[in-house]
Symmetry: C2
DNA sequence: CAAACGTATAAATACGTGTTCATATATCCA
DNA sequence: TGGATATATGAACACGTATTTATACGTTTG
């Protein structure tokens, strides 16, 4: 039940994750993949982004193990990789709505 | 019990918060203030940062209503402004420890 | 009031990074 | 195998931003 301060290293690692979540485009991609696994093309078309841009962002998200891609024929379907992340995103999506009500 | 996708605007707002959390220095400041309200000088000394740098970061955190400062004589003590944020940070601090155990 | 202390602001710089454009890799189909 | 589709990669650029240095503002105490 302690509330220890994370080490500087832990903090840096955690910040790295937050940093990735801190881009609107990436966050939109994550929320879109939160509903269901989505192909790169679907993401690009649905969010009105270039295929290249989506791919670049997915690479970063993959590198941080935030998303996970499954090849299905020509397409690759991406989904949230971690229960932690998807849970947190869902919470955040919930909180962001409440924020508007406050004050 | 729905799991709606946040609007693009909501996502941008949320990303703004994540972006602020995505810097190691700021995150260290937040964790340090999570334990107790801290003066700017205390933050700077304890985390080995310049007073100016701490002040700059606090300004950003204040702007996003993530921290809140109370003047006490010459010093200003900063603490986490929002229950949401402090709760999330505590969770994160918890998760980041678990991560190490995984795999 | 003036000096001292604590904090905030301004300007400048160095660096990272989001985006685009062009091209490469990979998988399927005729 | 060759063409078509889907995804990934590389280079280049524009822009934001974290940090430093110097200075200003505000508050307390002689």
């Amino acid at each position: 039940m302690t509330k220890p301060i994370p080490s500087q290293l832990d903090t840096t690692i955690l910040a790295e994750t937050f940093r990735l979540l801190g881009d609107p485009t990436r966050l939109r991609i994550l929320f879109f993949c939160l509903e269901a696994p989505r192909s790169v093309g679907d993401i690009a078309a649905s969010l009105d982004l270039s295929q290249s841009l989506v791919s670049h962002h997915l690479r970063l998200l993959r590198g941080a193990r935030l998303v996970r891609g499954n090849r299905q024929a020509k397409q690759i379907f991406y989904e949230l990789a971690d229960q932690h992340v998807s849970g947190m995103l869902a919470d955040m999506a919930h909180h962001v709505c409440e924020e508007h009500a406050e004050e």
